[in-house]
């Protein structure tokens, strides 16, 4: 093991520390230096990750080889149990390191353009470093304890970044929502870890997996423990029923959304399940839960993506849906399918988010797709890269998403579970539809301006056509959207292409969205799958009828999207009017948020009021009642003994002494 691998998680940490020092002692809150420091740290970590990848590819591989843990040392010992820290650099971890550092580097480069002029520029980069460092620490964790520590660090950094513009109440609320919702799952994760610990007296993945293999751990205990562990992944990876935080997490800056959705936050849940796959495989029940939750979430989220009007929310639901695919793949026992999709998804989802950010940036903070349109002419690079990402997401061959999604669909087919297979296939069609709906609405047709903005421009003194920065009302009116940080000074309709620091990462990611899938395709004999699974070559075969079916459904989805939003052969308004109940169900997100609001706001609060009354009236009442009774019965009588005359007290004292003396003298001396 080359020693430089230790630097991979430490470099972002160094970036964080340097940035904080610059902020605290240098007063550099808006300096471009912060960005350079972060990009340098992240870029170096990426280079080292690639070196580590090449090193790992040169190692002999076999499926029987135990997970190589390097540099494990004892953190502390308590109660005779040692708590070690360490690092894993097996193929899975190395692949993840490369993906995380790569996406993070590109996002940070892109952010230079997006966050330009933000008052919290340095703080932004410091948090981004913290976020990446947490994720890298999570990736190399060899045991549950260490993973849990970084797991929570990922959670807190996401809280800091989603609530980055904390001055906006909606951002503060979204940050809290993300943190608290994931905490619900984390509680299950923690209990699951502790159950495993009480059974095996170790946190180590490999040792627990051995216990499962030898049969000393299994049955109901293992099933319960792993379902609880999976609850953590449900929260982190925004699976049903803990998915509600992810669409709201759009309140953060768009590059943060890209990082959360592609590499750091939501990938953590999938990665954890992949990492603990040998333990999950000891419990078919837990695997079934993973597969069902994943399959259901894929379909459930895709249906909501169909009707969203906010471009970032469409992408958010598509992320939830794609994560559901990954969980489905993992739950069906295909480690490679789930991981492969995680990697390809990281590239094309980062691309889609950064492209969406470029659209929002270029239109002065507009996020509503109904107020976009015709942007292809204004921002061709963004439009084409977005198209590449969309094709990858829609799993059209030969784009990256096709190869990985095809594996998951294939796994669902081979499992023989008809319902899950149908979930996967229907979701494929829905995915293609909603992402191309977004693309057609954003980039084709004519520009539809937000009527409120136009009215505001007319009344707000925006008469001078040359003054591109004269629209003060702009920032107010789009409040709640992605503005308020310096690039809101454009006239409505005055869309422009983004600077090179933003389009550059888009182009790089677009190329990857096209070619990244080949590493796991039959063309390369499944090099990726073989590497991750630990064998030389994996048997990757494309089931041609199945691939044709899923591709055909994807193309059908695109066609329908074209019919509605591209060519306007069909009227979306008339169609939704016919299916109004279903449309409203999707639009209101299945009322999940309302149900949670009702559960917490009405049921829980009502119960709490009841318990508070019980505490005050019954518990406190008993205490107070006892005190009152003792006063009423004894206190009033004994009051008369307190004469205040000292001789009386002295008399009582001596009488007592005499009585005691009498008792002592009277007791016969013992033998």
């Amino acid at each position: 093991m080359p020693s430089y691998v230790w630097l991979i998680p430490l470099l972002p940490l160094a970036g964080l520390i340097v940035n904080f020092l610059l902020m605290v002692f240098g007063g550099m809150r808006q300096s471009r230096v912060s960005g350079y420091v972060a990009i340098l740290a992240m870029g170096a970590a990426f280079v080292l990750s690639v070196l580590a990848l090449f090193w790992a590819m040169g190692q002999p591989r076999s499926t029987d080889m135990p997970i190589p843990v390097v540099g494990s040392f004892n953190w502390y010992t308590a109660g005779g149990v040692a708590f070690p820290l360490g690092a894993i650099f097996d193929p899975l971890a190395v692949v993840m390191l490369v993906v995380v550092t790569f996406v993070s580097t590109l996002v940070q480069i892109y952010s230079q353009g997006y966050m330009d002029g933000d008052p919290g520029y340095a703080r932004y980069y410091a948090f981004m470093c913290l976020f990446t460092m947490s994720m890298l620490g999570l990736v190399i964790a060899p045991n549950f304890l260490q993973m849990y520590i970084f797991w929570e660090l990922v959670g807190v950094s996401s809280y800091l970044l989603i609530g980055f513009w904390w001055g906006r109440p909606s951002a503060a609320a979204a940050a809290k929502k993300a943190f608290i919702t994931t905490r619900v799952g984390d509680l299950g994760f923690l209990i699951g870890i502790l159950i495993l610990f009480t059974q095996t007296h170790t946190f180590d993945f490999a040792k627990i997996a051995d216990a499962v293999k030898t049969g000393s751990l299994g049955g109901t205990t293992l099933a319960i423990a792993m379902i609880l562990v999976f609850a953590g992944a449900v929260g982190k990876s925004a699976q049903f029923p803990l998915h509600a935080w992810l669409p709201d997490a759009m309140e953060g800056p768009t590059p943060v959304s890209a990082l959360i959705h592609a590499a750091t936050m939501v990938a953590a849940g999938v990665y954890m399940v992949a990492r603990t796959m040998p333990i999950f495989q000891g419990s078919p029940e837990a695997m079934l839960v993973v597969a069902w939750i994943g399959g259901f979430t894929a379909l459930f989220a895709a249906t909501q993506g169909l009707v969203m009007s906010d471009i970032k929310r469409v992408l958010a639901y598509s992320t939830i849906s794609q994560l559901g695919y990954m969980m489905l793949g993992l739950g069906l026992g295909s480690l490679t399918a789930g991981t492969f999709h995680l990697v390809t998804h990281a590239f094309f989802k980062a691309l889609l988010f950064l492209a969406a950010g470029a659209v929002i940036h270029g239109t002065g903070g507009e996020q509503n797709m109904f107020y976009m349109g015709g942007l292809f002419k204004k921002m061709p690079v963004t439009a084409l890269t977005f198209l590449a990402g969309s094709l990858a997401l829609a799993a059209i061959p030969p784009f990256a998403g096709f190869w990985s999604k095809d594996e998951i669909v294939g796994a669902a087919y081979q499992s023989g579970n008809v319902v899950l297979f149908l979930f996967a296939i229907i979701t494929a069609g829905l995915t293609a539809f909603y992402i191309f709906r977004a693309w057609f609405m954003t980039f084709l047709g004519e520009r539809r301006l937000n009527p409120e903005l136009v009215a505001a421009a007319a009344h707000g003194g925006y008469s001078n056509g040359h003054d591109g920065h004269g629209l003060d009302a702009h920032g107010h009116l789009t409040d709640g959207h992605d503005t308020g940080h310096g690039h809101s000074g454009h006239a409505p309709g005055d869309a422009h292409e983004s600077p090179l620091v933003m389009t550059g990462p888009l182009i790089v990611l677009a190329i990857l969205a096209v070619v990244a899938g080949f590493i796991g395709s039959p063309l390369f004999h499944g090099a990726f799958q073989g590497f991750v699974a630990g064998s030389q070559e994996a048997d990757v075969a494309i089931d041609v009828p199945l691939a044709a079916l899923s591709t055909g459904i994807g193309l059908l989805g695109i066609l329908i999207a074209w019919a509605f939003y591209g060519a306007h052969w069909l009227s979306a308004e008339a169609f939704t009017a016919k299916l109004r109940p279903i449309y409203l169900l999707f639009l209101n997100r299945y009322y999940v948020d309302d149900i949670y609001g009702w559960l917490v706001g009405t049921v829980l609060l009502g119960l709490s009021h009841g318990f508070a009354w019980f505490d005050r009236a019954i518990v406190d009442g008993i205490v107070n009642g006892v005190a009152w009774l003792s006063y009423a019965i004894f206190g009033r009588v004994l009051t008369w003994a307190e004469t205040g005359r000292m001789p009386n007290y002295a008399l009582g004292f001596f009488v007592g002494v005499i009585i005691i003396a009498g008792i002592v003298v009277g007791i016969p001396v013992g033998h």
Partner: protein, 110 residues
Amino acid sequence: MTITLTHFLVLSGIIFSIGLFGVLAKRNVVSILMSIEMMFNAVNITLVAFSRYLPVPASNSAARGLNGQVFALFIIAVAAAEAAVALAIILAVYRGRRTVSVEDVNLMKW
């Protein structure tokens, strides 16, 4: 007539009872303090008498007859300190309330 241990104990008992009566019946705090001193001395007499008359275990022959007397000396010393403290308190009470009668110092009454 020989003086026996009983005589001393009876004398001590009489003095102790006089002191006790004084503590309980007197109103002037200074008188009460003096009565307490009498009770101390009654106890001292008892200790010295026991020290003189009671047989001492053979194992402790070196300290024969001295234990009780040492005790009495300690009590005298402690009583002196106690009298000083008590007088100081009485003075303080007198300055505050212009009285040394226990009848009038009754803040502890209900």
